[in-house]
Symmetry: C2
Subunit: 275 residues, 2 copies
């Protein structure tokens, strides 16, 4: 999806919310475990309940992969459902893949062609030839890890070379790659103060921001420091929305949480004059 097509969706919904589908069978309402495909049943209910408040959905691949072939069948069903029912929603396979050229090609083919996702999260450690195969798809995106929101982020992402931190170097260098206009970046919201420096390096790129909600990031801070003239933000919430209730009312509870975030987002978009 081009930045402008995504911005169009953001304006239409007055939302830059991405709902993360980190589906843990130990946390979903117990009555769903009796359905034929609990992963899909839960995902479908959450998608149907929240789609009007969200512009993107982000299935977390580990939570499908952990169930082997059955899990991949569920992921395939989720993607088929999304592409059929909600073709205007931006879909992100949160897979954090990263491998050399001829292997990266295969991952790109898997996600973009076999499953029909719009974007894949990708790890930067192996450099350019691990990412460019994803950027070769004209209407697809790669979302490169820059600054993550976890504790371990500090182990390597702040490695400093001539005044530049590694995550800043990742942003800087990746801008020169073939197809870089289709790059987006993962930027952890718990480091909202870093967003200003990030925006200096990639003023125009979309940033996928996890860590708002359960991980403690503030939507107001992220928006203040990260929003650009075409919004440029996708703020993800997973647990805060999908596990808002673990009872039979879970879908309504998820919708209420998503709506709360969308309402706040709408106000920020209005202040910025974007809707």
């Amino acid at each position: 999806m081009t930045n402008s097509a995504l911005f169009k969706q953001i304006k239409a919904k007055a939302s830059y919310l991405c709902v993360g589908l980190d589906i843990d069978l130990e946390k979903i309402p117990p009555h769903l475990l009796k359905t034929e495909d609990p992963l899909f049943s839960f995902a479908k209910s959450i998608i149907d309940a929240t789609h009007r408040y969200a512009v993107a959905f982000k299935p977390n691949l580990a939570f499908f992969e952990t169930y082997g072939v059955q899990g991949w069948k569920s992921f395939e069903k989720v993607m088929r459902y999304l592409n059929k029912q909600y073709p205007n929603h931006f879909t992100i396979a949160d897979a954090k893949r990263g491998d050399i050229g001829n292997t990266a090609n295969r991952y790109a083919k898997a996600f973009f062609e076999t499953y029909g996702v719009d974007a894949v999260t990708v790890a930067p450690y192996m450099g350019k030839d691990a990412v460019e195969p994803f950027l070769a798809y004209q209407d697809k995106n790669a979302i490169l890890l820059a600054l993550t929101s976890n504790e371990g982020a500090k182990d390597f992402q702040f490695t400093k070379e001539q005044g530049l931190l590694l995550y800043q170097k990742v942003l800087q260098i990746s801008k020169s790659w073939q197809g870089a206009e289709r790059l987006m970046y993962v930027v952890g919201a718990t480091k909202a103060e870093s967003l200003q420096s990030i925006r200096k390096i990639v003023p125009d790129s979309f940033l996928l921001v996890p860590g708002v909600g359960a991980q403690g990031g503030s939507l107001a801070e992220v928006t203040k420091n990260g929003m650009n003239s075409h919004c440029g933000l996708l703020v993800n919430s997973s647990r805060g929305i999908i596990y808002a209730s673990q009872k039979e009312d879970f879908a309504n509870a998820a919708a209420a949480e998503a709506q709360k975030m969308q309402t706040e987002m709408k106000s920020y978009l209005e202040i910025a004059g974007l809707v």
Copy 2:
């Protein structure tokens, strides 16, 4: 597998060869495409033909994942076959996974429990909490990317902080992680001269060395600079072995290439007094 158990296998076979299963349906002998499961048929033939010369097999997940659910079924079959027929061989899922704690848990569960592999390759960018869940399994290993053999390795892995390169920092810092005795490292063979500096940081760890053969690394150089008192090396060859012939004699041709490497390895193990 413990280092000493792996060393025992290396001595028994007089080999530290890992056969990489990067199975490209466009490169396998055409007559196999008519079988019910070409990925599995090819893998089985290669495994049967080369197992006596190798201590490890490394399926590359991208080449299975790219075929969706069918590809995962094939991977499951390959792992079941390996675990049943060749339980003493060390199996490596070359998946390069890396994500935050609760997600990393799921990946570890998938590979170690669902598929029964011995080791998974893991990316370091997200730090400690992306790797430790893999190290929590007492009889399993995580193989952390340090220095890779691809062109893009130079983009970030040589980032220099106070005289230390990023890949050296990855080695250094990861040594302090919980379960670090179960860590191994990916070290690209095309940088054989770097092996000496790597051995200073991780003298005892096993190194998985890709890039010998098709990618131009020299087995003699790698061995000279990387071997330790319990061998400490797994040298991988994928394309050089599995595509030695693309005709009906492919299995014999693969066996011949594997044997050639094993014979050379045996001579180095003898010189080192390890067999």
